[in-house]
Amino acid sequence: MSGVLEKIGQTQDKWFVFLDKLESRMHEICTAAVPEIREVFEQDRDPYKRAHGHLLMGLRGQINQMRSKANEVREEKIFQFIDGITSELPGHGFFTGSHDRLYTFRIACINRHNLFEEKIAFYMSLLNNAAGEQDLEAAYQEQLQAFEAIRDQFSCKQCAGQMTIPDLFFIATYVTCPFCQTQNTFIPSTGAQMVLHQARSLAEQRTAHLLKTYEESKPKNSLLYRQYLRSMFDEWNKIVPDMAEENEKFYQRLLQDHLNSINHY
């Protein structure tokens, strides 16, 4: 009996120390990584910030490895240990102090693991937000101004007649010459093409306050989420009106996903 209690105590201690070590390693890597992520993001000339993405992926991989390791140890050293001990104890109807101790042990180990998972969520979010927010609004306004400045400066490649680009296009588009009807292909600048890529993020930036209001509501208020989502998609459609039809289907899907999810606490 005392042997069993001793084994339970030792296993619990080892599990706690193991998770402490993983957490301390996680803290060390993530806090040291934050300035590095910021530096890579700022120096990355790629419009898609792929060097920053690669670095982030590597670091997330490290954290996920820690998560897998903890899950593996939990299965092997905690749950299998509990199964082993349970089979050695008298069956149902013969509850002893060992049963109580085993139950307390199980709950303590699971709670400790939950804390570890919370730390993972915290450090993941620290890494994801380390680069800070890009000023997408300024970049968008810059593209609008650039477009206004060039929209009348094109001529038909066939007859040299002056052409006006009717809208701010984000992808290559046929524009018909009003004089000779030739289909010219207008290819937007790289900056304008990036607006399409950044449109959702910009809409999310514009409506971040609504998402925050929803996230701060307790219990989570679905109506607030719906308000946020609608506003976000309205902003998105204002930026890229040509995608409104497709976006509406996406909006309906996200809304359904939210209503069907169970995490409203």
């Binding site: 060097a51 670095l55 590597g58 670091l59 060039i150 007859c159 296009f169 000779c180 292909t185 207008f186």
Partner: protein
């Protein structure tokens, strides 16, 4: 090497790998907006939209063999 140095050296390696990794499709060069046109190689006419985009409106040369489907700016009605 102590733990702190190990972490810094690991991060430095990770950073170098991330920065030096070649991007799919190569480096993206910032380009200005431009206008292009595709003339008919058979008769030299501009690609006019009289009866669709896939065939030259003047001599019948096939600009493309595919059937167009609905997209953002191109519709299936644009087939010749």
């Amino acid at each position: 090497m102590n733990e702190k140095d190990k972490t810094l050296s690991y991060l430095e390696r990770l950073k170098q790998q991330a920065v030096n990794q070649e991007n799919y499709g190569g480096e993206i060069k910032a380009e200005e907006a431009k206008m292009e046109v595709r003339d008919c190689p058979e008769c030299g006419a501009g690609r006019a939209f009289h009866q669709g985009l896939t065939v030259c409106a003047y001599c019948g040369f096939k600009f493309m063999d595919i059937r167009l489907t609905d997209g953002l700016y191109i519709r299936k009605q644009n087939n010749s």
